[in-house]
């Protein structure tokens, strides 16, 4: 488990990594990463509950900042306040990783040159 917030840089993908923010700034940074992530995440709440889903909304300027997730199988979104978050795991597949135009162009070039 990678709980070291100081390692926030830009890894190729956050898939499989965990973050445990220890202050307000780290919490906001972590929530930005979660909002940008193109896969499901697991949010560990301070009260012990785990919420697994896709984060589609982030309202960091609300009086009480929050995110919204769609949970598989649930019709309505679930709201989670920043202040209730203990940790985050990028638990689902990163659906954007390796699917850029450049990745495709490289693969295509390789297959052209080998054929």
């Amino acid at each position: 488990m990678d709980s070291d917030m100081s390692s926030i840089g830009s890894p190729q993908s956050w898939e499989g990594r965990c973050l445990q923010p220890s202050n307000e700034k780290e919490l906001h940074e972590a929530m930005n990463l979660v909002f940008d992530y193109r896969g499901d995440v697991t949010i560990q709440l301070k009260k012990g509950e785990q919420v697994v889903g896709f984060v589609f909304d982030r309202q960091e300027e609300a009086p009480q900042p929050y995110i919204q997730l769609f949970l598989p199988g649930d019709q309505h979104p679930r709201m989670v306040l920043y202040q209730d978050v203990a940790g985050i795991e990028f638990s689902g597949q990163d659906t954007a990783f390796g699917r850029s135009w450049e990745d495709w162009a490289q693969k295509w070039k390789k297959s052209e040159s080998s054929s």
């Binding site: 940008d36 193109r38 896969g39 499901d40 896709f54 589609f56 909304d57 982030r58 309202q59 919204q68 769609f70 598989p72 199988g73 689902g92 597949q93 659906t95 954007a96 990783f97 699917r99 850029s100 135009w101 450049e102 990745d103 495709w104 162009a105 295509w108």
Partner: protein, 338 residues
């Protein structure tokens, strides 16, 4: 055939009446995304990069029609994902047509020929076919061989049944002007009503950051594409927007001009950026900090010249100043005048 007079009249009447009533911000084209799932996997497409449970979600016809009613824009564009996958798409289109909305159903055309029987030709319904260039360029762009031929066949079938058909083309920095001009010829020879062109943009969450066209490159590319324009080429978009792409005019972005509604709600601030969602159109219009967005104000807006931000600016110019109005008349009648 170009845009029907009734559509031009509807848009002109709508824009003028908003202007005369002193409405500062009004929507022109609602972007309705009833699902993100697609039957293609174009490289870099951020619309399909979601977990399965998100790709399986769809808006119902009731949600789509309520959003269109609330928004009030005279034109509704339905991009995706691939809208023709949605089993209730005919009901959504029918409901919009009943409301006299001009609907642009954007499709990659793979399913179009099979689905034509589910729709009725109408001046209110246009199939807007995703075509990114001649066969070689298009099949490369959509990462699958044969799609161009399928789309051409579907275009012919739709035209034969009396449907309005346009094409929409996104151009990236590898576009070869001479090839694109040949593509324009080919599309017009097919008999489409008009073409829509726009520079590409990569979505915030998508990783494709290197295909951006800088503003200068966009100006130069579009100036080459549209120089000495052939009379036969019809563009289904504002002539002032084309001049903007060519670097002949400056506009600020009008992100509220093409508001986007999808399975997450009303998207802030525009079709391209995802800076959060709200559940009503009124909240979108009244509570979004619009001044944060646009070139020079937001990092991700820096090089954007995409139609969903700037075409509404051009249309607004046409109806809010005599200069804009006469500029539109001149650009329509004499597109090659300097």
């Amino acid at each position: 055939m170009s845009v029907p007079v009734s559509q031009m009249y509807t848009v002109a009447h709508y824009a003028l009446s908003q202007h005369l009533r002193g409405v500062k911000r009004y929507p022109l084209v609602m972007m309705l995304e009833p699902l993100f799932r697609c039957n293609l996997e174009c490289a870099g497409c951020g619309k399909i990069q979601y977990p399965d449970h998100i790709l399986n979600r769809r808006l119902t016809p009731e949600q789509c029609l309520a959003a269109a009613d609330e928004c009030g824009a005279p034109i509704v564009s339905i991009p995706g994902g691939e809208p023709l996958i949605h089993p209730e798409m005919p009901a959504i289109v029918e409901g919009l047509v009943r409301r006299k909305k001009y609907v642009y159903l954007c499709t990659n055309a793979i399913l179009l020929e099979r689905k034509l029987q589910d729709y009725t030709p109408s001046k209110y319904l246009t199939f807007s076919i995703h075509m990114d260039g001649l066969k070689e360029e298009h099949d490369h762009a959509v990462c699958r061989d044969g799609v161009y031929d399928v789309a051409v066949k579907a275009i012919k079938a739709a035209l034969a049944k009396g449907f309005r058909v346009t094409t929409n083309t996104t151009l990236f920095n590898d576009a070869a002007p001479a090839r694109v001009r040949r593509f324009f010829d080919e599309m017009m020879e097919l008999g489409v009503e008009g073409m829509m062109i726009s520079p590409g943009y990569s979505y915030e969450k998508a990783p494709d950051q290197h295909s951006f066209l800088s503003r200068e490159r966009t100006h130069s590319l579009f100036a080459q594409l549209l120089a000495q324009r052939k009379r036969s080429w019809q563009f289904n978009q504002s002539p002032l927007f084309l001049e903007f792409l060519m670097g002949k005019r400056e506009y600020e972005c009008t992100p509220w001009g093409n508001p986007t509604y999808n399975i997450f709600g009303w998207q802030r601030p525009c079709y391209l950026l995802q800076d959060g969602y709200v559940s009503t159109f009124r909240e979108l219009m009244e509570e979004t900090e619009w001044e944060r967005y646009g070139s020079g104000r937001h990092e991700q807006c820096r090089d954007c010249m995409v139609h969903c931000g700037y075409e509404a600016s051009a249309v607004k110019d046409t109806f809010s100043s005599w200069g804009g109005f006469f500029g539109t008349v001149r650009a329509t009648l004499f597109p090659n005048a300097v």
